[in-house]
Subunit: 155 residues, 2 copies
DNA sequence: TATCGATTGTTGACATATCTACATTCTAGG
DNA sequence: CCTAGAATGTAGATATGTCAACAATCGATA
């Protein structure tokens, strides 16, 4: 690593401190590796992608259908991305869409419901192994609260 | 930091507890929103994508070139993804590659070095606003350590 | 109730990521 | 030296995500 850079932490604090930059890249790196690991486990066992699983699990939590805009908000996706992904999942018979006014309700098909029962324990095991095990229960709670502070504020 | 007490897991332990599932989705949601926000800020100001910036910053930290495999490891990417992305960045004149045995060294071009000076403060401001500000300095350190536990273990 | 702006969703072109298969170089053991 | 397996990269096909433009509905208000 290079060390001799003009790093003086001006009072203006234009650039990031070491701690700050490290937090950012630690976050990205953890996210990339976590996704790769869980995704590998799940795909090997079920053939489903990570986004597929995210949609299925969130959609399954609400009986009778979720509006797309709410689903997008839960996932942190934008509506374009969700629309494209739902089209793909729909063509594979996993979900169905019902137009309700200007909105669209998403629900699982029979096939989708069947698939999710298979996926859930596999996904749970992967999450537990790769994300939960490194932490104590109280750390799990603390970490969740910290992460929610990132997504909640409209900042 | 603290000792790794391990989970008390119910005998079944097939599925995730509420805390556990919430941690997982809080993580994914925070990641999606953080990436979207920072990426929007940076793209609006520079036209560079989030992966572009990640590669530029990591490559700039090492003088004289980084081996692709190491860059991939720092980023948490797999080598295929990095190879494709570097090809695109190379064709835009941002980086250059030199073959060294079976490996490849990546370094910034003049244009890449010029670009990164423009990007860095903008990126720093975006990271500060969206990731740092919600936390105290000690939380920043704690959070970084927690995230590193996710990526470090080969688990 | 007419109409304008905001909300919700889709589409197509393009950018990025993944998967499978392959080529080259490195390394350790005969 | 050889040579088999590991490590490093690349290529093309496919899957996924983003951007800009558009269409339909909602909702407030004049």
């Amino acid at each position: 690593m290079s060390t001799i850079d003009s790093r003086v932490e001006p009072a203006t604090a234009e650039l990031l401190s070491d701690d700050e930059r490290q937090l950012y890249f630690a976050f990205k790196r953890a996210q990339e590796m976590l996704r790769a690991r869980i995704s590998d486990d799940v795909r090997a066992a079920t053939g489903l992608s990570d986004p597929d699983v995210a949609v299925l699990i969130h959609a399954a939590e609400v009986d009778g259908g979720v509006r797309q805009s709410e689903l997008a908000s839960l996932l942190g996706w934008d509506r374009t991305r969700l629309s494209h992904h739902l089209s793909r999942m729909q063509s594979r018979g996993l979900i169905e869409r019902t137009k309700v006014g200007s909105a669209v309700e998403v629900s699982l098909t029979e096939a989708g419901l069947a698939v999710i029962d298979v996926v859930r324990p596999i996904h749970a095991a992967a999450v537990r192994r790769h994300l939960i095990e490194p932490f104590t229960p109280s750390q799990v709670v603390y970490l969740r609260e910290a992460l929610e502070r990132i997504s909640e504020p409209g900042a």
